[in-house]
Amino acid sequence: MSFDRRKFNQALAAAGALSAISPVGIVRAQPKTLKVGLLLPRSGIQAGIGQDCYRVVAITNGLLAGLGLPALEIMNGDTESNVDVARSRAERLIGEGAQLLVGAFDSGQTTAIAQVAEQRGIPLVINIAAAPPITEQGYKFVFRNFPTAPMILGDAFANQLEVFASTGVSPKSVVFMHVNDTFGQAMQKGFTGVMSKFTMPYKVVETIAYDPAARDLSVEVAKAKATGAEALVMVSRLNDAILITRELVKQRWSPQAVLSMGPGWYEDQYLKTLGKLGDGPISFVPWYDPNKKLAQQLEAAHHKAYPEISLNTNHVYTFEALLVAADAFKRAGSTDPKALADAIRATDIKNNVSPGPGILFNAKGQNDKLKNSAIQNRRGKPVTVAPKDAANAKPELPMTPYDKR
């Protein structure tokens, strides 16, 4: 019997059809690890923050194992603090086999990565990025376990009222100073709108935007001081928070309160650099609930790995993004991007670290149940002062004047 090419093809097709309808399917082992492309600004102007976020990677698989979750294989992507680089790194990670993306701290960079993730059909779990539009585009593969700017602002005002009521100190006028980048502008746009929903005791007498790469902020502080405001409301990064505090001391201005709605003012480097001059500011930020069990486990593991560095927002939300990935991978039982996205959409993690009822996503892919905290620097360490049910200390206002420390 001759077996020509046509017969061979027919036989091959028949074999394929048989295997497809066969009740005895080929058993494939569930993959043991998920390849996660972790995109962070690990060089460039945000390098310090990117490196800080990355620290948690070293302890994540150990904690996941303790929770009965599969290990993650982390693939590094440095966005170089640059939107275009973030986009190309996301493309490259997907090309190299990343099955899920996590990142990327900065809203501008995250927006670019989200576009790539959606186009390529690879799930993106955002660790930190507050610009609201990211989860307003109707994306099916983008999920954010981090509050949007309006959520941060809303909780900030609510927590401020709680702090003012608790201390009996309410400033009557404030200057709003914000860093002039994507995050700062989003916060500035939301500030007035969200503030109008609350009965705040103060009015904003001046709004001052400043360059995120500024080397000298003496002009900005002089302008703020000239208004005679009683307090400062800040949206900053780390370096500018240090520069502003130095200028406050040098220009001999001690406001009643420094109320920060962003990073910088509670970070280790801030506290280490300024010593006792760093005490007093209250930051209204996405934080962790020190009373939750997983938060205590994360804090202990983090302290063991990095005894000199306190647990902070960067670590908590990068860890929770990886937790979401591992949890979804376990439930999906597959590395198929669509199955992973479906599993993330159905996430319901009660045993988590951040304040609020847990991690779950609405139809837009946003965890809208997250709560933010108020933390105050005391003797070189941040303590949680609000909301009351996630606090471990009471707030203190007014701040001790800088020349009396």
Partner: protein, 291 residues
């Protein structure tokens, strides 16, 4: 807004401008003599700032005292850089020189990132948080000391070029390259010395600036750009122009920030640069090139 705010801000801008002027002076000296534009200027300044940081941590000496040894270290660095790397490029096309110096800048930034990490680092002197008050005027003590030191260094440099035999020889090289060769001057050595002197200016400015602000490896390119804005405004190749440019840029940024919006401070500095380029392309104190 009260008038004292403008006075305070103007004083701060002028003091900072003097230190920036000293940094730009180095760039101007190098270009004026060697005719090479140092695109690694800001990165060399961050190098000086890190050397200050290391020496301050080890010896606990004031940056204004460390200024002399750091200027010496940068002088040696600049001399070797010119003698070993840049000299072969002197007669090559400008784009080759540009690529060489950009490569040096990138190497410096990345080496600093590897050694010192990405976080901002600063030093805390006994006067870090001090300020002087005279009536309504409050002036940052660190800036006053740094500006005074910048004036002393600049005066010493002017005196060197005006009165010393070596300074006159360097000026001869700048004025007439072939003439300098004909009278037997060792031009290559003088070029290397000039690059070393320019680097020493950057070293001194870096040490002073460490008393005023923090350092990160990635801030180098911003300082390079600032130095360019200053020397083009003041006049590329003019030493007095570099100091004047520093003062003008410092003052413009400060007053622009307080009069309009602080986030647009740099815009005013660049605005001034555009005006200078439009109406006096050789810079305020620069000499017009014939032809």
């Amino acid at each position: 807004m009260p008038i004292e705010i403008y006075l305070n801000v103007a004083a701060s801008g002028l003091l900072t401008g003097l230190v920036y002027g000293l940094m730009a002076l180095g760039l101007s000296v190098i270009f004026g003599v060697v005719r090479v534009v140092n695109f690694a200027h800001g990165e060399m300044m961050t190098l000086a700032m890190y050397v200050t940081l290391v020496l301050f941590s080890a010896l606990k000496l004031d940056p204004l005292v460390l200024l002399v040894p750091i200027a010496a270290v940068l002088f040696v660095f600049g001399y070797l850089l010119q003698a070993g790397l840049i000299n072969p490029f002197i007669n090559r096309p400008e784009h080759s020189q540009f690529m060489l110096l950009v490569a040096i800048a990138l190497i410096l930034v990345n080496a600093q990132l590897i050694v010192f990490g990405p976080d901002a680092q600063g030093i805390r002197t006994s006067y870090s948080f001090d300020s002087f008050q005279a009536g309504p005027l409050i002036v940052d003590a660190s800036k006053v000391y740094a500006a005074l030191a910048a004036l002393v260094v600049a005066a010493a440099l002017f005196a060197f070029f005006r009165f010393s035999l070596l300074g006159k020889s360097i000026r001869a090289c700048a004025d007439n390259y072939h003439g300098a060769l004909v009278v037997g001057l060792n031009v290559k050595h003088l070029y290397a010395l000039t690059f070393g002197i320019g680097a020493a200016c950057v070293g001194a400015a870096g040490a002073m600036l460490m008393a005023v602000t923090d350092v990160t490896p990635t801030i180098g390119p911003a300082y390079t750009l600032l130095a360019f804005v200053i020397v083009i405004t003041g006049g590329l190749g003019s030493m007095a122009g570099a100091l004047l440019g520093g003062l003008l840029i410092g003052l413009t940024e400060a007053l622009g920030g307080v009069l309009f919006t602080p986030s647009a401070k740099s815009m005013f500095a660049f605005g001034l640069l555009v005006l200078v380029l439009l109406f006096r392309p050789q810079g305020i104190l620069g000499r017009k090139v014939a032809g």
